[in-house]
């Protein structure tokens, strides 16, 4: 047991080091070159310089957002895969992000953000996610208990319906809006509003903490739902809380950063291979791993063809997908 704790501590330290390094890289590298040796000086003394503004006003918030969004998606994927005991589930499979994107598209098309301000995006994204959760939830409750299989099917269907509706909105919208929608859908961590970044960060930490409180239940659920009940776990309540947590994490991420593919799917898998299936370490690892992964993908997205910027969702999709297929071929992925 002491051995296990030591191993977990080591994993945590390594992941944190990796995350800090990734964050540091993202801070240093960018379209405008800020020499590494000048950085400390700029941060301490150069409050009015352009470089200072780039570092603290543009790059740093972006890194923080990447940490929050990557971590949220990683944790949400871990929770959902554990709950459903299905390795292919991720926030997107359950239609949560479909609902959120529909909400945001409606906001863009109807120009709500012009009236209520920038808060309209996360609110509508969250509302969309919430509506989908309610729909999936209501449709898959039979006799008071959630049926995982029908929940998955309902989720996939709702996801299709929402993406069709998003396309419908795109077809009828003005070209300005269209550009907004397309860029938003492809996912980007370019978010100028600090309040939003704060909200998402707070939400991601909250979700992480709630998830950590349910790590034992998730472990027990690995033995099967019935067996978990025999071990004293209130599975109905646990599933409800975890589903809502995963939805909140996804809803917040999607509403600020758009659709960032694959993080919620591959990060939990990858972490499972590295740290094992014990949720006590898996949840926090998925958070840290998701954060680092998204920071690096975003770094890639904004530097690969500078000064142009690629949507980060495209990068996570490509890198994630290829890495995943490669790893899948090398090693049996396990839940």
């Amino acid at each position: 047991m002491e051995q296990k704790i030591q191993k977990w501590m080591l994993v945590l330290v390594l992941l944190i080091v990796f995350l800090v390094l990734a964050g540091f890289l993202a801070l240093v590298i960018g379209s405008s070159r800020i020499p590494f040796q000048d950085m400390m000086g700029i941060l301490v003394n150069g409050k009015d310089t352009a470089s200072y503004h780039i570092l603290t006003g543009i790059r740093l918030p972006r890194i923080i957002l990447a940490v929050a969004v990557g971590g949220s998606l990683g944790v949400a994927g871990t929770l959902l895969q554990g709950m459903f005991r299905n390795p292919l589930v991720e926030p997107y499979t359950l239609g949560i992000s479909g609902g959120a994107s529909l909400g945001v598209c409606l906001t863009i098309v109807f120009g709500l953000h012009a009236r209520v301000g920038v808060i309209a995006y996360p609110v509508s994204g969250f509302a969309g996610a919430g509506l989908v959760i309610l729909a999936v939830y209501a449709l898959s409750i039979r006799g008071g208990a959630l049926k995982p299989d029908s929940m998955l099917l309902t989720g996939v269907m709702i996801s299709f319906v929402s993406s069709s509706l998003v396309m419908l909105l795109m077809a009828v919208s003005k070209s300005d809006d269209l550009h907004n929608i397309v860029f938003w859908i492809m996912g980007s961590l370019d978010e100028p509003d600090l309040t939003l970044i704060k909200i998402v960060s707070a939400g991601s930490i909250l979700g992480l903490v709630v998830s950590l409180f349910h790590c034992h239940s998730l472990n027990a659920l690995a033995l099967g739902e019935e067996q978990a009940t025999f071990l004293g776990i209130d599975t109905v309540r646990t599933k409800r809380i975890l589903f809502i947590t995963a939805s909140m994490l996804t809803g917040l991420s999607v509403s600020v950063a758009g659709i960032i593919m694959f993080v919620g799917l591959i990060v939990p898998h990858f972490m499972r291979m590295v740290v094992g299936s014990d949720y006590r370490i898996l949840i926090i690892s998925s958070f840290l791993g998701g954060s680092a992964f998204l920071i690096l993908c975003d770094l890639f997205a904004r530097t690969i063809i500078t000064p142009l910027e690629l949507p980060v969702g495209v990068i996570t999709g490509i890198i994630g997908g290829i890495v995943f297929i490669y790893v899948l071929g090398k090693k049996q992925v396990r839940l």
Partner: protein, 271 residues
């Protein structure tokens, strides 16, 4: 004086609106093994799951030590009743971690790591089930018989008063069947555990159980609950299973043994 640990009163249970069992009343004495038998579909597993708390009874009561089990909080119930089902879901953890799951009901709120004594208990029961040498193997890699033993260890780690088992020996070879049932049999004396076990094999059920509950598929209730030699009779088997059998007393244990006779009669000399 014998003490009653478990008692069902007019229990009626099933799935959704489909009633499978009706008016089930029987008592289980402390430290005894009660076998549940019956044809396929007679509701053996349903009865076990209802006692375990996985299915809410439609009517009637299940009383454990004088308390209605539906009123005992889940976590507290898990300290009193442990369940081993017929099949174990594949779980990607080591045997030791798997057995440790049985300590979950004893974790205090906000307890993140298991304590030294939890680990000691895990090792104790792995040893008792002769599976200690498997402790670092992945649960999915061990054989079916070993999985069953490890699951029993997981149930014992809960240190229950009542152990419920659903056909723990089906699909196992005769050697493992005996090993597992001998182990379960010994728990009554060594740990004072009371056992309710669903067994398909009438010979095994008759050999190991103190009393047998025979379920009748047509009436959806208990046909008889008595000592094995009184339940396993030619007449009962004929009525419940619609099969002619020959009952022969085991010369060593004096328990009833069942022989089937093939419909097409052959010459015993093999000609």
């Amino acid at each position: 004086m014998t003490q009653i640990l478990l008692e069902t009163e007019g229990l009626c249970t099933g799935y959704g609106n489909t009633k499978i069992l009706d008016n089930i009343s029987f008592k289980v004495n402390k430290g005894k093994m009660v076998g549940i038998m019956g044809p396929n579909g007679s509701g053996k597993t349903t009865l076990l799951k209802t006692i375990a708390g996985a299915i809410l009874p439609m009517a009637g009561n299940i009383i454990l030590q004088g308390r209605d089990i539906t009123k005992i909080p889940l976590k507290e119930r898990a300290k009193k009743i442990a369940v081993v089902m017929q099949f174990q879901q594949a779980a990607y953890m080591t045997v030791e971690e798997y057995v440790m799951m049985g300590r979950l009901p004893f974790f205090k709120p906000f307890q993140f790591f298991e304590a030294r004594e939890d680990l000691d208990r895990v090792h104790k029961y792995l040893e008792l089930t002769h599976t200690l040498e498997l402790k670092d193997l992945p649960f999915n890699r061990i054989s079916g018989g070993e999985r069953q033993l490890v699951s029993i260890a997981r149930a014992l780690v809960q240190e229950p008063l009542l152990l419920l088992l659903d056909e723990p020996t089906s699909h196992l070879d005769i050697g493992h069947q005996k090993k597992i049932l001998d182990l379960i049999d010994s728990l009554k004396d060594t740990l004072g555990i009371t056992i309710v076990i669903v067994l398909h094999d009438l010979n095994l059920a008759g050999e190991y159980s103190d009393t047998l509950v025979m379920l009748d598929e047509t009436t959806q209730t208990i046909f008889s609950h008595d000592r094995p030699e009184r339940v396993i009779t030619k007449e009962t088997i004929q009525q419940i299973y619609h099969t002619d059998v020959l009952i022969v007393e085991n010369p060593i244990t004096a328990k009833p043994g069942i022989f089937l006779t093939r419909q097409k009669q052959t010459d015993p000399q093999g000609g």
